[in-house]
């Protein structure tokens, strides 16, 4: 094949261009630390990366859901634990009050404490978590119980806070005030105890009121075990969400994070090739017969 000077120049130029292109691509990968920065770099990998981004964003969202649910459940549980303690104290007082040997003054002293307990109980029933009343059903912004323990929140399915804790799985995280306090007769038991202490009906205290308090305590303890089970479930899901997130992050990283050592080595090699091409180019472009003919 006949070779002309222009061909050599053109070939040198083309090869330098190709080398520089490769250098630029590697340089881009080194500075972004990612294999693909545009869809066209590798559509298959880029599509998976985009997919993993949404999956990860979703599992982070579920993680937040789960943490919120856990916080809500734990607050409810610890409140109900306090409710149990307070009811236990009321029960002790009832046992003490049922003792027929006490005179009316003693009973009235007990009554004062029971009254305080009722106030205490209303406070517990009006507990708020992050600014929301946990026993108000979905009426989370209004105080659910008045000073006499009358419930103004909602109940049943209207009163449920259903949160999505993983894809397609919702959990009712709250217990409304009606279920917790009214159905279990917490306030009625306490106010009956107070009335009977006032009227000195020690026998009724011993029979009816003690039984009512026991029922209330049992009811609350049942709710607490339900909450415990739910918290356990949330924790299990939370753990698997973490695992899942870790897996997806690992996958994304293996797809899209560059192997720095490899890229730097490739870059170095490419740089050498480029330098060699420049060197050779400088040597072969100049000379022709013109340089060797005498003028």
């Amino acid at each position: 094949m006949r070779v002309t000077n222009k061909m050599i120049a053109q070939t040198v130029l083309n090869n330098l261009g190709t080398n520089l292109n490769r250098l630029q691509k590697l340089q881009g990968q080194m500075s972004s630390l990612q294999v693909v920065s545009k869809m066209s770099d590798d559509p298959a990998v880029a599509t998976r990366v985009v997919n993993l981004n949404s999956v990860l964003s979703r599992s982070e969202q579920y993680e937040r859901s789960l943490n919120d649910a856990k916080g809500w459940l734990e607050t409810t549980e610890s409140t109900l634990s306090n409710v149990t303690d307070v009811l236990q104290r009321a029960r002790e007082l009832a046992v003490y009050g049922a003792n027929g040997t006490l005179d009316q003054t003693d009973l009235e002293t007990i009554e004062v404490e029971v009254e305080q307990i009722i106030g205490n109980m209303v406070q517990l029933a009006n507990t708020s978590y992050a600014g929301r009343y946990i026993f108000g059903g979905t009426l989370t912004t209004a105080v659910p119980f008045d000073a006499d323990g009358n419930y103004s929140g909602n109940t049943g399915s209207d009163g449920q806070l259903d949160w999505e804790i993983s894809q397609g799985v919702t959990m009712t995280v709250n217990i409304d005030g009606n279920t917790a306090f009214i159905d279990n007769g917490v306030f009625s038991a306490l106010s009956d105890l107070k009335t009977h202490l006032e009227s000195g009906e020690t026998e009724t205290i011993g029979n009816t009121d003690l039984a009512a308090l026991d029922d209330a305590i049992n009811g609350i303890v049942n709710l607490r075990s339900l909450l415990g089970a739910k918290t356990k479930r949330v924790e299990v899901i939370l753990n698997s969400t973490w695992d899942e997130k870790l897996n997806y992050e690992g996958l994304r990283s293996s797809l899209n994070d560059i192997d720095l050592a490899k890229v730097v080595t490739e870059f170095k090699m490419q740089e050498n090739v480029y330098n060699a091409a420049l060197n050779v180019g400088a040597r072969i472009i100049l000379p022709s017969l013109v340089n060797f003919l005498k003028a």
Partner: protein, 459 residues
């Protein structure tokens, strides 16, 4: 018997041939880097011999050479390669235009990145999820509104950027058409000169180089068929549309973009290659992306509104639209909601501030398959679209690389045949120099012979 003066004439012819050879080599060297230049070669032949009857053999006259003539100065060119290169240039022009436009579209979508639509949509669904758990919380409502405004703006902005790319490409098409017309005019003018010069019996080498260069450039712009006429002129046709006919040319008009099918009429439906066809193809692709984006926005508006209107805001409002607008161009968050995020219908029942069931129903749209989107989810539809964009952009880049390699290789072959080699020209120059010196010597020897004959012979 031959005369002295005939020998002198032979010497003169040798001098002329040597000088012409020097001229041609000098011209080649001078144009070594001229684009489109074809190296020229001097074609020499021995001039018609003089027949003289021989004394010794009267029946068999001797043929006596009369020196050299320059037959013609010709171009060294392979016309078959020209055709091949131009075919590849049609494809190269086509893909180059598509690559440039598709890369631009890819930049508009900014995927995969934090700021792409994929992330904004994810964030939008996450916000609804968050709201479903904190329905009465007004900061979370405000965050949702702000993220929704960002999402709507992204749709608007992307749509207007795509619209700008479309307008740019349309303008570019008309610039290319002007360029095609201008080249057709120049080719027709060159045709006329070439025909005239050929009629006078000369080879218009440099004009033909110029015409070939124009034909190469035209090949990048649009596909055409080339017919060579006997008089040396060429005809150029775009499909059935004549562009150049000898010394006449027919311009093609600008494309009317207000026409709903701008490529269907006139010469435009015959376009199958070159930059112009690249624009034709890429405008189709661009339209598909714009339509997809529009469909996505329209369905997002309809589905979110459908669920939202069934719910209740904090103030008991119901039947409120969340988004206004009909597509990517005009999607916006309802002004009433921006002014009062309390109107976001998070609750499925009235007067239950903590109820987030409706917000959860909207968040669930993320995974629901939408019939109008071909049975995929919103996210899936968008991902399919940008995956297609990635594949199409990558294809155009690869095709440009391939075509460029082909054109380079063919150009190299053409350069190998038609290019000027310095070494070769230097050798030629030396060759002609010695030939010239030889002829000059013949003349000077004859001169001294004549001197002897005329001046020194005793009278």
């Amino acid at each position: 018997m031959s005369s002295f003066f005939m020998a002198l004439e032979i010497g003169r012819r040798g001098l002329v041939a040597g000088l012409t050879g020097m001229d041609v080599s000098g011209h080649n060297v001078a144009n070594a880097n001229t684009p489109g230049y074809t190296r020229q070669r001097i074609e020499l032949s021995a001039s018609a011999p003089y027949t003289k009857p021989s004394l010794g053999k009267p029946e068999e006259p001797l043929q006596l050479g009369t020196g050299v003539t320059v037959e013609q100065i010709s171009r060294v060119r392979d016309r078959f390669l020209d055709g091949q290169i131009r075919t590849e240039l049609h494809a190269l022009g086509n893909w180059e235009t598509q690559r440039d436009a598709l890369s631009e579209i890819e930049t508009v979508f900014m995927e995969p990145s934090e700021n792409g639509l994929n992330n904004l949509i994810s964030q939008f669904w996450n916000d609804w999820q968050e709201l479903s758990r904190n329905a009465e919380n007004s900061p979370i409502r405000s965050v949702l509104v702000q993220d929704s405004v960002t999402l709507a703006n992204f749709f608007n902005h992307t749509n207007s950027l795509l619209e700008t790319i479309k307008t740019d490409q349309q303008e570019l098409a008309n610039i290319h058409i002007n360029d095609i017309n201008s080249k057709a005019r120049q080719i027709a003018a060159l045709n006329k000169q070439i025909v005239n010069i050929r009629a006078a019996g000369d080879q218009p080498n440099d004009l033909m180089d110029k015409r070939d260069l124009l034909l190469d450039e035209l090949a990048g712009l649009v596909n055409y068929t080339l017919t060579e006429n006997d008089d040396g002129s060429v005809n150029v046709d775009l499909g059935t549309q004549n562009l150049v006919d000898g010394s006449d040319y027919t311009g093609i008009g600008d494309i009317d973009w207000t026409d709903p099918a701008p490529w269907s009429g006139g010469p435009y439906d015959q376009v199958t290659g070159g930059n112009l066809n690249g624009i034709k193809d890429v405008l189709d692709k661009l339209q598909a992306y714009q339509d997809n984006l529009d469909t996505l926005a329209a369905n997002l508006i309809a589905d979110v509104n459908g669920v939202h209107e069934a719910g209740y805001g904090l103030d008991g409002s119901t039947g409120v639209q969340y988004f206004t607008g009909t597509g990517a161009a005009d999607i916006a968050v309802n002004g009433a909601i921006v002014a009062d995020p309390g109107q976001i219908a998070a609750a499925a029942i009235e007067d239950a501030p903590g109820n987030g069931a409706n917000a959860l129903a909207i968040a669930h749209l993320q995974n629901s398959n939408v019939d109008a989107l071909g049975g995929t989810s919103f996210d899936g539809y968008y991902k399919n679209m940008i995956a297609r964009l990635g594949v199409e952009t990558q294809e155009s880049m690869r095709m440009v690389d391939n075509q460029q390699a082909l054109v380079d290789q063919l150009s190299n072959r053409r350069e190998s045949i038609s290019g000027v080699s310095m070494d070769e020209e230097m050798t030629n120059i030396m060759q002609y120099q010695y030939a010239y010196m030889g002829s000059a010597r013949v003349v000077s020897v004859l001169d001294s012979m004549l001197d002897t004959l005329i001046n020194r012979m005793a009278v």
